[in-house]
Symmetry: C2
Subunit: 305 residues, 2 copies
């Protein structure tokens, strides 16, 4: 084993992704464990850390690699808390506010902060997605870009010459899930299968975001009145929510002609037609770009060391 310059850990709520990287940012080895912070018993992050990367630490030559941790591990529920940095922010701002910590075994760590945004009537936070966004900077180049990271809590961010200027969190995935599992709509949706037709109808209903609260009830009323086939109802709800999210984000953050998307193709593929109904192109940046973001942070941290 040679050349370990950086150990980068993206330690989220459900997963821990670890990367052994060279001086120039090449990923030499990667690991992915279901050891998210919610899965760690009794807060024993030290043990989980050594289980996943202990052998990398033992084998690394001098000088000791720089170790950087990002994601929910820096939250109040995590190992060491790294307070949020207010937007606008670039990778250097993140490095400036990273927290220096030390494991019980004596290894020095850096913990990345999250990003925050406070407006009069709206507040927002992210932890982890900013590393994916900064990890895509080389692909994106300078200028303005609108980014989307779909998921349980979809994140949209406005990037301007490498600076995250503004962002929004949409509870799209979680809302779909709680409505499906716990609302009156669930008894309809449980009989649904995936349906492109249902999804397209939902997208059309969510096209303007207006009346979302009323459109939700269409899932029930439409199936009762047989204007919406029961088997299409789940995809309709998915289309309604994603359509509303896209309408809201592209209106509030930026009215560009392209949205850059990072995420699993199963999910990101749903955003292509949602964007297309607003005449917006969808550019796929990859399934995961967080390792590069952590490396960029490590580069900034070297200057602090």
């Amino acid at each position: 084993m040679s050349d370990t310059a950086v150990l980068a850990l993206d330690w989220g709520t459900t997963r821990l992704r670890a990367f052994r990287m060279s001086e120039d940012g090449t990923i030499l080895e990667r690991r992915d464990a279901p050891a998210g912070i919610r899965a760690i018993e009794d807060g024993d992050f030290e043990d989980a850390f050594h289980t996943v990367v202990g052998d990398w630490l033992t084998a690394a030559a001098e000088p000791a690699p720089l170790i950087v941790l990002g994601g929910m591990i820096g939250s109040r529920q995590g190992w060491f808390e790294a307070p949020y940095v207010p937007c606008p922010a670039n990778p250097e701002n993140l490095a400036d506010h990273a927290i220096a910590a030390k494991t019980e075994s004596g290894h020095a760590l850096w913990i990345a902060p999250g990003l925050s945004l406070s407006e009069e009537s709206r507040a927002d936070v992210m932890r982890g997605e900013e590393l994916q966004i900064f990890g895509a900077l080389d692909q994106l180049g300078p200028g303005k870009h609108l980014l989307c990271l779909p998921g349980t809590h979809s994140k949209w961010a406005l990037l301007d010459d490498g600076i995250i200027r503004d962002f929004r969190t949409y509870m799209t995935g979680e809302l779909f899930d709680v409505l499906r599992r716990h609302s009156i709509l669930g008894t309809t949706i449980e009989h649904a299968v995936w349906s492109d037709a249902g999804f397209a109808k939902g997208l059309a209903a969510g096209r303007s975001e207006a009346g979302l609260l009323a459109h939700l009830f269409t899932v029930r009323a439409g199936t009762l009145l047989e204007t919406l086939p029961v088997e299409e109802s789940g995809a309709f709800l998915s289309g309604l929510l994603i359509g509303s999210e896209v309408a809201s984000a592209t209106r509030d953050l930026a009215k560009g002609s392209e949205v850059c998307i990072i995420g699993n193709p199963d999910l990101t593929d749903l955003y292509t037609p949602a964007l297309s109904q607003h005449g917006i192109r969808c550019r796929q940046l990859g399934e995961y770009t967080g390792a590069h973001g952590l490396f960029r942070l490590a580069t900034g941290l070297r200057k602090r060391r």
Copy 2:
């Protein structure tokens, strides 16, 4: 006991309200039982019917009173199904489409239909609320009126010279409930109390309905960043949802200067400030007006008999 001309039953999902009425519509006696259709075991509606109004039937003089049932009892999950009548509709249309049925004990019944609305991308239904709306016709008089019946599924209806022209269902109450009990927002809200300040902030955030999906996350992010006190978070979510409902309904159904509201004051009082931020007056028609609507239906049914 004298003068029983009409027995009117508003039989909903959770409650059964029964009224013994005279020839001129005066309520001689009323009963309210937690015997909603969801509480009836093995579909034994016959038994519940006799438990609640059996003595009224026995004591009634000839000619036998006209018996009319409205609400979810006429749904597919109810006793006798009365299919939906499409909007626009007035009380005579409801009477024309009521279903004649007979109990096992030989009593003739009328079952009121519900109302439906099918548009290209939106479908809606109501069962029971239309009886409350028609029950308020004498109070309202002719002309156009926008009505609101807040609740788990809030109903808004546009009434024009006694005809329901259009309506919308907003899943406001249910959405609040599933988010509070089953989403990530619940862990914040469980520490909340009622807060006028939080409610006002939520109303302001929901004022335009735009960005509802993003504003939801403020409940979590605002409390993390301490821009929203945790104790205000529940009222903030309530204000956000009610504010969005009011913005959507008053935009989509009618831009009048007054909304007429029927419902429990604990709930309807929340709509006064929500309407007031749009410069709309709130007129309270009473907590419950369904008995008068059922009597109006009975009047129409006499002509069919």
